[in-house]
Homo-oligomer: 150 residues x 2
DNA sequence: CTGAATTATTTAACTTGTTAATCATACGGC
DNA sequence: GCCGTATGATTAACAAGTTAAATAATTCAG
């Protein structure tokens, strides 16, 4: 009687976003795995290639990875010689990260496969649908973040 | 020269989906945490309330959680008395899970807050935008899954 | 110039994601 | 009934997400 009628379980926005993301990522993960990088490691390398040497905090924003996770990922990538780190001259608290030649080489190997996947996805889902999806996602995301000043 | 011109880093579909999902979930997580459940534990409880007693494999499909993760989550929930498990009579390999009275009680406490959050999100982003987003997400997801027969 | 408050990053602890391996039960051919 | 195989679930091992706490360097009030 007094049971709150919860939204139909299959229609929750977080689940729909999760499913869509998984549908996309399932086409990338095997390829990335074959090249020895995880999805997040790939995001970091791509962001570094794009930005050049950058502070870790900024890298976290751009790659959308939380600082504690990023800290571990950078340890891994540095251990494999794919990135380099150095303290900022002006402020020793800040750490600057950059992609290494070896990292660039890896990106160069993976990039064509990545582009091919994007093309296949765009064809399967329809260019126009993808474009509209981007637009709606941006719109909704901007409307929701930041969360209300609780 | 021969560098493959990678897609603008900020415009990747996985990232856009991740951002949107995070924008939504950041409004739920604090509330769920206040009630002592994670996002995934909440998904499982909701799915169980919705389905009644169900096989673990089916639960995994419905809650969109992989079996190894679900296995651990169910251990946790069973340890807290929020769910019950029993072997299926016909096939001893199959395990049937159900939400317990205590679990139902918890869902009853959290549900109103959850609904309030959904309402706030719908207002912030616009009901029509949310509806269109659902539609596009379903469309794109269906077009992409299952992944190509590799 | 010293010490409290701030800021950037890392660690810690726990949970979940991901892939592979294991374990137990069920099924099918013989 | 016995054996190989398939299926459902769990465990293992490593990476990442999440929140809180710790560490280290900087800034600023006094």
């Amino acid at each position: 009687m007094s049971r709150v009628p919860l939204r139909d379980f299959s229609h929750s926005l977080p689940m729909a976003l999760l499913r869509a993301r998984e549908a996309v990522m399932s086409r990338f993960r095997p390829m990335l795995r074959a090249h020895g990088v995880t999805e997040q490691q790939w995001r970091v390398l791509r962001a570094l290639e794009d930005s050049g040497e950058i502070e870790i905090s900024r890298l976290a924003e751009r790659s959308f990875i939380l600082m504690p996770s990023l800290s571990r990922i950078l340890q891994n990538l540095e251990g494999r010689g794919l990135i380099t780190r150095r303290a900022a001259a002006a402020d020793q608290r800040r750490v600057l990260v950059a992609i290494s030649p070896k990292g660039l080489e890896l990106v160069g190997e993976v990039a064509p496969h990545s582009e091919a996947n994007y093309a296949a996805i765009a064809e399967a889902a329809g260019e126009d649908n993808i474009a509209r999806l981007y637009g709606l996602l941006d719109q909704v995301t901007e409307a929701l973040e930041p969360p209300p000043e609780d």
